[in-house]
Amino acid sequence: MKRLDIIGKPRRRVDGRAKATGQVRYADDLSMPRMLFTKLLRSPHPHAVVESIDATRAAQHPGVHLVLTGQDFPIPFGIMPVSVDEYPLARERVRYVGDPVAAAVAVDEQTAVQALDLIEVRYKILPPIASPEQGLQQPEPRIHDYCEQGNIHRNQSYEFGKVDEALAKADLVVEDLFFYEGNTHLPMEQQATLAFIDADGKLQISSSTQNPHYLHRQLARALQVPEHQIRVIATPNGGGFGGKCDPGGHEFVVAKAALVLGRPVKIGLTREEVFYVHRGRHPVLMKMKTGVTKDGKLSGMHLQTLLDGGGYGSHGPASTFYTGVLTPVTYHYPRFKFEACRVFTNKPACGPKRGHGTPQPRFGQEVQLDKIAVKLGMDPAELRLKNVTKANALTASWLKIGSNGLADCIKKVTEMSGWKQRRGKLGRGRGLGLACSTYMCGAGVAIYWNKMPHSGVQILLDRSGSVIVYCGATEIGQGSDDVLAAIVAETLGVDIGTVRVVTGDTGIAPVDLGSYSSRVTIMMGNAAVQAAERLRTQIAAVVSETLGARPDRIVFSQGRVFAVDHSGPGMTFVEAVHAAEAELGTLSAVGSYAPPKPPGKYKGAGVGPSPAYSFSACVVETEVDERTGWIHVPKIWIAHDIGRAINPTLAKGQVIGGVYMGLGEALMEEQSFRRLPEKLSGALVHRAPSMLDYKSLTSLDMPDVEVALIEDPDPNCPYGAKEVGQGPLLPVMPAVANAIYDAVRVRIDEIPITPDKVLRALEMKRSGKEGRVGPASFPSVPYPKPTFVLPPWEDGDGNELKRHAAAAVV
């Protein structure tokens, strides 16, 4: 491969200037002549039947153009085909405080708010379900009729080799309970959407969405408009973190209003509404049983999870899987079993947040490993190194790991932090904690079943020398436009300043499935490489004779095209384009990408496989004040196996940003709810639906972060580049918990770890009890009989073994 001109060099991102000048147009910055404004009326009850809605007075209010209710939306939507359970405006039932029931469209926001006050809704209140434990105890009334049983939304069980047997043979078996409280994305930008009918009579919608393609399909479905009559533009997102993955009720409402009124219709959610729309981190209760030999080799794990789903399906079926499937990617477990259950509750729906379903079990796993290391008298880093998975290995659950830099990450981060020299020698109240993690580089299957590519890229070469790149990928701040421009510029050997990217637009760009599951760099990037290589091939064939070199001996670099051995003078890229355009006509090429087929063949094997996995290891230093329980984090070191950094400035920014969000989750972020007193309706309301009360780290709370990027290019990835958007968040929470143990010898087995919990654990320890705060019990969950699959090393073929056959396996 030629020397890299652009990739790997720190550089101003392609949209850096626009962001620094305030010229980026986010959804709420858009306006149009004759634009109307929308406000949503939301349910004050967590669970109720909508008996009637009288909107007569609202519709007659001066300045009001339209009032919509559930009757205007007969068709439901839902991001996952198995959970299409939501209406843009609730029809017969509301399922959380904040569920939208009606919309007013008016000349300005204030008039729309006045109109909402004139809408009369009669509710028949139903008993609300506040927790998954309560949901298991109270199967009726059901929050959704389609539940698997009672109020259980999803219930899954998988066993890879006989785990009980492996645990029975282990020298040490440890069992722990962990709890991870829910938290929310809190993007700086509140969701906003503008819809209108364009000059051709088609519906156009600009929205702060991470997934314009899925939104496009859902709009067509719920509004019964042909897909080719819709254009969705994902405006640059002011942060997403998973919170803008689900289609939102507000998007359907303004689209419908634009269709009815023939005028531009806009909505911008308030911050409080964003808290109630949520779709964030699931609260998860976990029971984790792990076996290990006396020399520290893991023999198996049995993991049980219980997810608090909130009122709707959202991405829940996937989230449920993710509390299990990625657990065995970091360490080799000869046998592995997971059971996962998601229960509906009358709270805002949970969904995907950075790390989607995996931070919760990862927290438990990494804290438990720390406990095992203590029990075995081993260095926690040594214990991990002894068990790390290898490159190109399969897991017990048949996930294929590609490149694997986890061991290097552990070695690097322990070196950077002075782990060996400093641990245990920092003095009273100070400690170091280590934890590791992994994440997918894109989900192996699309959210809806199809055999088409996951990402497409089209490149148009212009005789002016500009390179125009079209892709449906969505810039949510992660730098996907920069990745696209860099990969195309590198492959064509042109200056990145000559590349213009056109992204996030379903009306003019090839489909990309969206900015989720850390898929964009890998999938869009591979499609971009293919498109650019096709153009290079076309051009090389034309200029080969002039340059006196075989087409495969021609190099494209730094705006020039020349023979690899530098024989002859070569020509500029623009001259080569002119020659090729003269001979071939207008120059364009497309590329596309679909992930490889996963080796697992059992039902459910589609969740978890990925073209590649990133790995991270993190060391956190803490200072704990034993009088107050206050936790100070002066420094964090992290090593991230990224394969290759396309733009190291951005890659490091993603790592530090992930650490920031992880530290916030570890110490303070909480999406929790409380019951109002009965006389005040008894509603289940958010404890802190504002940015002051929902605590997040400020610049003053943020410690210094030292980042090492481990670069071992992955052959499945464009220029070897793996993900960096989600992985680096994941090891932070357990590393904090482990550092607190190292500092003051108490275990906080739940997230967030707040000073009151530390104080309580210290008091317990002083009174001679176990110094631990965490869940005390795990309810009886009716998990189904597991799908039994033999691991690859037990002569499995990746298929499910039917029950009688499983019984015969010894």
């Binding site: 305030g22 993007p187 700086m188 509140q190 942060g239």
Partner: protein, 160 residues
Amino acid sequence: MKPHRLAMSVNGEKVETLFAPYKTLLEVLREDLALTGTKHGCELGECGACTVLLDGAPVLSCLVLGMECEGRSVQTIEGLARGPDLHPLQAAFADFGGSQCGYCTPGVIMAAKALLETNPSPTRDQIKEATAGNLCRCTGYQQIVDAVEDAARRLKEEAR
């Protein structure tokens, strides 16, 4: 409601506008003057995204009424660049990864500008202090501090 007539200076230019009197400075800037570079993240004074300079001092424009601005001077992100060239703060944010999604960027840059005008050589802690009211969910703040530090250096070089 009778519209209110307001005359103020925005980015050094005299501006006259008619607006609904309940509007905040943030709304007047964004909706009546089409200066959408100033962002909103909460409209409750919690996040700092709407920071502008009012008579040179950083304020949360979502907590200032438009009516309060008669005859006063407002600076927004749109007025920062020097013609086609970026202000050193803008250049540094672009170069050092100070922006990811970019939504908090205009507010942080305005807060940082106010800092550098009173303290041309701030320490990292002073930069963190001055921007502590500006929440950012992407960067973890480190590269924002790097950017402000670099901008301070560039501005001092210019002044020399």
